[in-house]
């Protein structure tokens, strides 16, 4: 019996729980019997014998779970085989990294969507290795786009010399609208906030912070020992409609491109129309440069609760598939 602990019970955590319920039978055939022994958010939890369906409903209705509890304490006390960590990203690591540290130290696998791992990537990787467990983080970059798995699995015998990506859907939506309609940045940003594509405080996205964090995760995955501070970063707020018009006359557009190679950068770049990176709307793209096979592109939706949860479910299955 695989015992699963879910910490972080927002949209992603709940989507994951719902997937477990919906796919229970097919999952059981793949990885064997499993049960969720803990769900927790920032201040409350349910654990032991409980109904997962009920937990989802309670959280949806009341915004919290049954009992006042701290996940940090429960993770130390309870017995579980895998932690599914989906608390919000904090650039300093925060509680998310603490949860993962506790789980790995106690010999549990970790599956996460939490980009906080950027603050302690090497430490967590080494801890997992030492304990003989897995740290799976496909969901941290590009939601369900299988980029981490592709790098670590299929491309593990290739030499990856660098990568470039459009890693933030919010920015890409804004840039696509500016390009199509000749609108100002401010105008499109307001529109994006109303649509719920951008946060009320959009700085995390539009200043390239989110893209830079994902870039660092990808860079580490291809073997570059990088930290967030190493990324040269420039956001998109200075862009003008005239810039798109001028670029267009040469057959180019402008995209917020995250690039890792000799150096790390996230900044608006000119991209030829028709190039994989000239993707539109909220889509994400990652182009991996290999010595053997040139460039390999992966594209798909960059965000979403179910998309992200699906990546974590795939990670979970990968852990147990490979060890059976």
């Amino acid at each position: 019996m695989i015992k699963i602990a879910i910490v972080g019970f927002g949209i992603v955590g709940r989507s994951f729980a719902e997937l477990l319920l919906r796919k229970r039978e097919t999952l059981a055939k793949r990885i064997g019997e499993f049960e969720v022994v803990l769900v927790a958010d920032s201040k409350s939890a349910m654990y032991g014998e409980f109904d997962l369906r009920e937990a989802i409903e309670i959280k949806k209705k009341s915004g919290r779970l049954k009992y006042d509890a701290k996940a940090v304490e429960l993770l130390q006390e309870l017995d579980y085989d895998v932690l599914v960590e989906c608390t919000p990203t904090r650039i300093d690591g925060g509680e998310g990294v603490e949860h993962m540290r506790i789980a790995l130290s106690s010999g549990a696998h970790v599956v996460t969507s939490n980009k906080s791992i950027v603050a302690a990537f090497r430490e967590l990787e080494e801890l997992a290795e030492k304990k003989g467990v897995r740290l799976m983080y496909e969901a941290t970059v590009g939601a369900a786009i299988p980029v981490i798995r592709t790098i670590r699995g299929y491309l593990s015998t290739f030499t990856i010399t660098g990568l470039a990506g459009v890693l933030n859907g919010t920015c890409n939506y804004i840039l696509t609208r500016m390009e199509d309609e000749g609108l100002s940045y401010e105008h499109v940003l307001r529109e994006a906030i109303e649509l719920g594509i951008a946060e009320a405080d959009p700085s995390y996205d539009v200043e390239g912070i989110d893209a830079a964090i994902k870039l660092v995760i990808l860079a580490n995955t291809i073997g570059i020992d990088a930290r967030f501070e190493d990324v040269e970063r420039r956001g998109i707020s200075f862009l003008t409609p005239e810039a798109f018009k001028a670029a267009s006359e040469k057959g180019y557009t402008i995209r917020l491109v995250a690039e890792a190679g000799d150096s790390l950068s996230v900044r608006p770049r000119l991209v030829r129309k028709g190039h994989p990176l000239a993707t539109r709307g909220t889509m994400n793209v990652i182009v991996l440069h290999t010595e053997e096979a040139g460039s390999i592109s992966l594209a798909g939706r960059g965000a979403g609760g179910v998309e992200t949860a699906s990546a974590m479910l795939s990670d979970l299955v990968a852990i147990y598939d490979s060890s059976r």
């Binding site: 470039a164 420039r234 200075f238 862009l239 003008t240 409609p241 005239e242 810039a243 018009k245 001028a246 670029a247 006359e249 040469k250 180019y252 402008i254 491109v257 690039e259 900044r267 608006p268 770049r269 000119l270 991209v271 030829r272 028709g274 190039h275 994989p276 990176l277 182009v287 440069h289 040139g294 460039s295």
Partner: protein, 164 residues
Amino acid sequence: MTVVVELEDKPGQLLRVLEPISKLGGNIVGIVHQRGRKTPLNRVPVEITLRIDARRVGELVERLEEKVIVRSVDEVTMLESTFLLLIGHIIHTDLSDTITRVDSSDAECVEIFVSMPRRSEASTALLTIAARSKEALSIAVARLKEVCARKGIEVIDPIDGDFV
């Protein structure tokens, strides 16, 4: 560089030009016979574009002149070019100074389009830089970025390479 020579219209003439180029380590990029522009003496102008170490250009021209009529030598052939977008107060921060910083014997700003939406608002410029080599181009771009950073102008450069 580009050399235009006049060759007699009979077999084997081109070889007289190619030999010295090859001996001096030059690499021919293109050859155009301008048959339609034969001279009154029935010679054909031939335009040869080649890459060669800048220090050997003098010697090459001397050797060519021994064998054929050299009509013109254009030492700086811009083989590499890129364009960049500049956003900011481009005009009021001395545009001509910005451009002059890029120009050198190996690279120059060859084209610029500026659009100014409204006074006091940021302008946008599309700037094309041509250079003799990739290295010269990246030096020129770095120089432009440096001067723009000082002037508070944003620079957007293309992603490297076309890997489609």
